[in-house]
Symmetry: C2
Subunit: 155 residues, 2 copies
Amino acid sequence: MRTSKGVEWALHTLLNLDMLGGGPVGSGRLAQAHALPASYLSKQLQRLVRAGLLTSVPGARGGFRLARPLTDITLRDVVEAIEGDTQLFQCGEIRCRGSIGEQSPPPTGTCAVESAMQRADHAWREALQAQSLAGIREELDGTPHIGKVVRAVLG
Amino acid sequence: MRTSKGVEWALHTLLNLDMLGGGPVGSGRLAQAHALPASYLSKQLQRLVRAGLLTSVPGARGGFRLARPLTDITLRDVVEAIEGDTQLFQCGEIRCRGSIGEQSPPPTGTCAVESAMQRADHAWREALQAQSLAGIREELDGTPHIGKVVRAVLG
DNA sequence: GGCTTACTACTCGGATACTGCTTGTCCGAGTTCAGGGGG
DNA sequence: CCCCCTGAACTCGGACAAGCAGTATCCGAGTAGTAAGCC
């Protein structure tokens, strides 16, 4: 179990877009920046558009641009945009099946196992939500040449 | 992205084994309890054995039994036994590839994106570790007929 | 009658197929820009 | 000289394959119990 590569790609791409600042950048150029498959990256960026993190500009000279500043984008936003908001642990309600399930009265309330796993899931999402991309950008600015390279390559 | 079904199966099976208390129980009977594929459940239980959560008894009248009390088994133990201890987010170091990577000096230290995701990963594992199976067992004991059913079916 | 021994039934454990999702690729609809022609 | 029209190039967006991890299954090695045979 691991997050899809799209999460990593989306995060770096969002950071790159912020360093550029201005107009829309095509998926091809964004992909070239990190040697990613362009078409597949485009697919991931479409999800960010649907989630409201990016806006897409169609046509020639089109591309993607940030829909809002990095301070308003959390890791949780990105992860859920790519992966969906389904729980890490999905209860199959096996407690209701098999010989035990048949001989037990229909359960009332949530499965204890499920609720325990949900607590951990909640902690994960809280930790993701507590970190904005702006904070990560600040860490990167500890090595300021990065921004210069990005602008030289993509600008 | 979601945890494999094996996690759910393992958790319920461990709880059932504790309610029985005594001797080893075969994977077939444990599977029948929740209408699970017996052979595949056995595969998951083997992982719990390797992780030291269960002990297996070979031969006729053999089976699986708890290697230690539920108070000493946390959700994290079970999840990592089944899923492995790999991080939810695995950094592909794409920052070192592509035109940006080539034109940047070799990075020093951990990728900022990776360390941010690791913080969330850590929060998840902490929340898992904070919950023992004994606690879940207590929640289940709110509906005490469960133990009776388990003993009737498996005992 | 008691002990030994061969047999059977049952268990775990790993090697072997199948399925669904992640990953990767391709082509079409739509838009912008440029250039040429006409007023 | 300025405006309009046509064409081409480039973009996103969704439809179409390939690869791999998760899922499921089967068979062999090994052990406990049993029953028969022998002393």
